[in-house]
């Protein structure tokens, strides 16, 4: 799978409260949640966002609450992947369970500026900065985690497993 999109860059410690504020957690439908994505951090997010765009961030992305709605709203808003220097552990699990690709790469983050065009080749494990003509290798996740992401999340993966 190859993903193409532009980078939307943020800093360190992007927490779950700014990704999806607590007042929206009652919305169980992901499409409704998605409308409020990053509302407390970047109220203009949807003005420049196109589906497939990649969030690029510093350390500890998704720190804070265990709310899976943080990963869910990003996925249903159409975010293609998140590339960060590191992820908070609960968010990392939630993103995988939602089938939202999460990639750790400090090198790539340092070499990407806001609005750079990116191309991510998941099969080859490559992050390409098309604008700057740079390439970075991703550290592969354990095989079972890759399977979960490819299946689209934990629920479809469990279904695949039980029917195979």
């Amino acid at each position: 799978m190859i993903l193409k999109g532009k980078a939307i860059k943020y800093g360190n410690d992007i927490n779950t409260d700014v990704i999806i504020p607590g007042r929206y957690l009652n919305f169980v439908k992901p499409e409704e949640l998605a409308l409020h994505t990053l509302e407390n951090l970047d109220p203009d997010f949807f003005k420049t966002f196109t589906k497939g765009d990649v969030i690029v961030a510093g350390r500890n992305f998704g720190c804070g609450s265990s709310r899976e709605q943080a990963a869910m709203c990003l996925k249903y808003a159409g975010v293609g992947a998140i590339v960060a220097k590191s992820f908070a552990r609960i968010f990392y699990r939630n993103a995988i369970n939602q089938g939202l690709p999460v990639i750790e790469s400090s090198e790539a983050v340092d070499a990407i500026e806001n609005k750079d065009e990116l191309s991510i080749d998941f099969d080859k494990g490559l992050i390409k900065n098309v604008t700057k003509n740079l390439r970075f290798t991703m550290q592969p996740a354990p095989e079972f985690l890759q399977e979960i992401i490819t299946a689209g999340g934990l629920v479809p993966w469990l279904h695949e497993k039980s029917h195979s």
Partner: protein, 419 residues
């Protein structure tokens, strides 16, 4: 081979003789906790193939986040949870008014040393104060736990914190843990188990220890364990008949890093907007005007917190510019606080007492902040927009700092209130 508490618990839970940091294990869950977000868990559970939960006795549900229901949508969600629980024969539902999950579970005797506990709440680490490995997970992971009773976990490395010395009057465990978070940063313990020990920890009450294990999550801790001792045994003697094992780290167990911290001269600490690791000694922020003061939460809404706050508030009046909101962590804490005379002191000082629960911590009700307002709060998070408008400023401090600041109308060193 020598092992840490975290490694020993995860080895036992995954049926292995020993495990080492870095290994991925498939572990059996001893206790699975969820709260108002049970609605989302149950929706995802319905998409999985299992009709019934793996073990209805091992699931505990506490309604605490939006209680009593603050909107029609919340009321509908609570109703769905009650119906689900009935259908699944889950007996351990603690409904609206019982208190916050992280207080209710220990009080009701569910939490024992050596257990592997997961909860759909990041502050599930609180149960580490009882020598358990307890960690937060999301709704899909919990739905899978309900289906199978298992979860995959990477065995974490352990950070050791040796805390020594005697705390001064009105300096609390909250100040110790805020100081440490300021030192190691908001991701200083990400993916790691923390172990807190030393004479300061040994001398701490269970209430104080729970604050440490709770707040440690704000450094990213996967588990925040305090070696269990006689205090824990005495606490549990009244609450459970189940047997359990007191698990301790081996003497030569491998820690990724150890920190030594002498608390003798520590002053009260305040986490400033809008990151929990933006920690300063109270003397650096004294005089910041506040509109609200919050005493409560799973971090600091316990009896000891109320005792110290009432010691400061006794015979005093809260500043006319401040709304002080007090939230007991549980019904039991509330009752004891009435018996101890604390509630009367709070009311006479001008505070507002709301029902046990998460209160205003989540920014949904019971004291939401407007843009430009400022709060000092004994809760655990000061993220932008956490307690209401995104333009509100949140300072975190101990119950003593909250009480002293409420009287003065500005952030105040509680030690100045010592008569």
């Amino acid at each position: 081979m020598a092992s840490t508490i975290a490694e020993k618990i995860l080895a036992r839970a995954s049926g292995k003789k020993e495990v080492k940091a870095g290994e991925i294990v498939d572990a059996n869950i001893d206790l699975a906790m969820s709260h108002d977000n049970t609605t989302l868990v149950s929706e995802i559970f319905k998409e999985m193939d299992k009709k019934n939960v793996w073990n209805s006795q091992r699931i505990v549900i506490v309604l605490d986040h939006r209680t009593p229901a603050n909107t029609i949508k919340t009321a509908e969600n609570h109703k769905l949870i009650r119906e689900f629980v009935k259908k699944q024969n889950i007996k351990n539902l603690f409904d609206v008014g019982e208190g916050i999950c992280h207080q209710v579970l220990p009080e009701k005797g569910f939490v024992h040393p050596g257990m592997l506990i997961v909860g759909t709440d990041s502050h599930t680490t609180t149960y580490g104060a009882f020598g358990a490995f307890a960690t937060g997970i999301g709704a899909t992971d919990m739905a899978a736990v309900w289906s199978t009773g298992k979860i995959w976990l990477k065995v974490p490395k352990t950070l050791g914190f040796d805390i020594s010395g005697e705390l001064s009057k009105y300096v609390m465990s909250k100040d110790v843990i805020l100081y440490l978070i300021g030192k190691i940063g908001a991701d200083g313990a990400n993916y790691k188990a923390c172990e807190f020990y030393g004479d300061t920890i040994e001398n701490m009450s269970i209430d104080s220890r729970m604050c440490i294990s709770n707040q440690a999550m704000e450094a990213g801790a996967k588990a925040a364990i305090i070696p269990p001792d006689k205090k824990i045994l005495d606490y549990l003697k009244l609450r459970t008949k189940e047997s359990f094992e007191m698990i301790h780290s081996d003497k030569d167990a491998e820690y990724e890093k150890t920190f030594d911290f002498d608390v003798t001269d520590t002053e009260p600490q305040v986490a400033c907007p809008d990151k929990v690791d933006n920690v300063k000694p109270v003397s650096k922020v004294t005089g910041v005007k506040i509109n609200q003061a919050v005493l409560g939460s799973c971090t600091n809404g316990r009896l000891e917190d109320f005792a110290i706050a009432s010691d400061i508030l006794k015979g005093k009046t809260i500043s006319k510019n401040v709304r002080m909101i007090v939230v007991p962590a549980s019904r039991s804490v509330y009752l004891e606080a009435i018996k101890g005379g604390y509630i009367e002191i709070f009311l006479k000082a001008g505070a507002i007492i709301v029902n046990p629960g998460c209160g205003p911590c989540l920014g949904l009700h019971q004291g939401v902040l407007a843009d430009g307002e400022c709060v000092i709060s004994s809760t655990n998070r000061n993220f932008k927009g956490r307690m209401g408008a995104s333009g509100a400023e949140i300072y975190l401090g101990s119950p003593a700092t909250v009480a002293a600041s409420a009287v003065k109308g500005e952030i105040k060193d509680p030690r100045d209130m010592i008569l």
